[in-house]
Symmetry: C2
Subunit: 526 residues, 2 copies
Amino acid sequence: MKLQGLSILGQHRAKPSGKPTAAMNPATGAALEPDYFWATGSDVEQAAQLADRAFVEFRRWPAQRRAGLLRRIAELIEANATAIQERANLETALPLGRLQGETGRTCGQLRLFASLIEDGWWLDARIDHADANRKPLPKPDVRSLLAPLGPVVVFSSSNFPLAFSVAGGDTASALAAGCPVIVKPHQGHLGTSELVGLIVQQAAGECGAPEGIFSVLFGPGREIGTALVKHPLIKAVGFTGSRAGGRALMDAAAARPEPIPVYAEMGSINPVFLLSNVLQQKAEELAAGMHGSVTLGVGQFCTNPGLAFVESGAAAAAFSKKLETLMGSTPPGTMLTADLCSAYRAGVEKFSRAAGVRRAASVDAGAGKAQAGAALFVTDAAAFLGNHSLMEEVFGPSTLVVECASREQMLAAARRLEGQLTATIHGTPEDLAANGELVELLTQKAGRLVFNGFPTGVEVCHAMTHGGPYPATSDGRSTSVGTRAIERFARPVCYQNFPDAALPDELKEANPLGIWRLVDGKPGCH
Amino acid sequence: MKLQGLSILGQHRAKPSGKPTAAMNPATGAALEPDYFWATGSDVEQAAQLADRAFVEFRRWPAQRRAGLLRRIAELIEANATAIQERANLETALPLGRLQGETGRTCGQLRLFASLIEDGWWLDARIDHADANRKPLPKPDVRSLLAPLGPVVVFSSSNFPLAFSVAGGDTASALAAGCPVIVKPHQGHLGTSELVGLIVQQAAGECGAPEGIFSVLFGPGREIGTALVKHPLIKAVGFTGSRAGGRALMDAAAARPEPIPVYAEMGSINPVFLLSNVLQQKAEELAAGMHGSVTLGVGQFCTNPGLAFVESGAAAAAFSKKLETLMGSTPPGTMLTADLCSAYRAGVEKFSRAAGVRRAASVDAGAGKAQAGAALFVTDAAAFLGNHSLMEEVFGPSTLVVECASREQMLAAARRLEGQLTATIHGTPEDLAANGELVELLTQKAGRLVFNGFPTGVEVCHAMTHGGPYPATSDGRSTSVGTRAIERFARPVCYQNFPDAALPDELKEANPLGIWRLVDGKPGCH
């Protein structure tokens, strides 16, 4: 597959237009071949029209056929894995080992959604039978199931160039639901996006999909992205990125004549609470775990723990001291883009200047524009509570330890937290029993509570929630990881008194697909 | 229960403040005792604070205890049914028979949600077991279930003074989910709202609920309503009413520092498609059915069919002629309020002046300010397609018949429709088979498709969808009728590697509540 630097419009390519932009190698600062042409307003229009027309047929595809498409995408990614990983390595500076793991995750996600839609229980099919003899009025036959929303725009993330990019979780779940997808790739990995985009295009062609179930439009989020979100044929948006970027899309979508849902995963600071007994038992081990989680992948995870709460004392001091040593001796790393690194440096600078905050460790990153050194800050709860900006995410290998004078002060600090993707508690069983109020509070603040672990590493499974109250995500009722992600792109459609032959197979009386359904209030495979 | 005209703040009453407003009898135009004092900004603050504090305890109530509260509300409504119905009859002009039916529906809804939360499957509890031996990384134990969002504001409807008012579907589903509720009652039935509000207050007290799980704030939507929606402690909004009112709340909620979901059911025109074979078989019978549905309850249903499509010809002419006769001989009726009636008259006037539209029947309503006469309009598809304002809802006993020159023209008109609560098709099996494209299209336009029936009468059951793409509702992924309504007020919360004792009962390994769960991808009661 030869890269051309052009957007993908269904089974075609966009024409070059305007001045092209170079793809960059963040490790060297050098440009990478080829240059990329941004999509035009007319490309946006064409992609939206194609997607809308394709939806008419695609929404009616049997689940098995959509599953076949998802599996074919996975196969083609695997067949081209080396080329994809090498390009991604050049564009993102993520090591090949990590990119191999991410390839596995990406293909695993595609196959998980393929199995999910074949199983069919996610459709929430429901049947309430008629009762002609009911008084005062006969009861009608009412049946419903989840149906796809329509064309979806996916803004891919910077930090998962495969698993949350062109054929990542948002795309997989939207296609699985029966929605056409238009991807606006992140500018940090243009070539990787084109490679994977061509694979999806090929798979769609091989599977006989109507043209337009998939397009890729390169360009700046502010222009191409906003035009896509405002387009009347677009029915939902998936996004992974910054709070400012996500909120701008939320506002644009809410201001449309027909508002549409935006699922923006905007990251969070993922607080870690180290309770007193466990801290006394293994302060240094916890410091090592914290260090590993904070610096993993140069700190570029949405679930990176940017905050640790400890109760002041000898154990807390031992924890901080060990963490200082580890953070201070972390080799600098290359971030995904120079822009992200420059934002990271500004964040570290802001924390360094904050009143009552001690810069406990800082690594000199050298001259490279994308090189980031780890940073550790320590403060007390009073200073933390007095400075709201200390609750802002610093995307990169930095964290802040907050020393609390008492359990009550820790609880007070927790109360002030904004919505989070995750909240983590380290404790003994006694700690947990003594901190019931904290657990309850964190249940209200976060989408996922982690016990005696660290928040980085998001398991792709049925029970996962990777989402949380605003501002962690735009919509805390949703998750972007795990099988529940498919529900974002569907709505219930109800059929009243329809003849059996005219019903979707999933709702036919005989249950020809053998799926799980709720019949007259009873769940079962009937 | 003596009416005092004062808002309800938890277990207390608000103090009188400002100039009171009279409750009105729409049939006579006379004021009803007592006058009502509007809630103040400080009442809003107090209700929100009480609800937030109550949520801490209420969210942890076992489902059975919440179910007990819902059932006690139903019992107390039944015990006071006569007083409630008599007051509602005076305030809304709805006949006692209808109000008796609505009482039954209201109590049925409360009991349905009580059973639902006892059954527990709605929680979507999911368990993915750990696998310590998985490579390259061990698999954690991940469990999740739906948890309540927090305090909910409910704006009650004008047209269901019981079933979609103070203790109606929104309140029942929010309380069932574990969310405190603050109701902003409709001004059309103030006394009914106070009576039912006092019942819920009493039930909450008897059941030992923390003060603040329920409040009622009287006042104008523009002021008290907007203040509630903007309050930072409010986490979701339910609304039934006009498109303008609903959109204003949507915009206010989207502009909050922390945007929150608004579930606004804003009504629609509920198109009815009368296909050619069935129309030839029973034009007059269909006209009678249409007439019954249009004029039921003086046309004051969200699902009132405001539009009928027919293919021109002898059968269509017979249908229109019969409908003319029936509509023209319908006695005038009293609408819920003089304001609604004045909006109805303006709508009828607008249709009467529209180019290419014939006023086929109109009933003189006499002098009463809330008296409405039925109206029938007939036009052709070309005129309909040329005038977008003919797609606007006229709330009341009016409908528009659109004569189409062909099946293609009917399809073209259907394509132009906005989002609808319902779409109805009358046809023979042959009609249905020949109009597959129409059915598919309507699936995308509406939340509920009705076959060979009429859309008024919304069955309260598991499979019901009373919602649809915007502008029928703010959020087509939701329903305000049926058990799925509870999902509006919940979000998934995930527990990773939690000790069994610290998990909610619904997620404990032994399944002590015996609820349906998804375990390692398999649905079942395990």
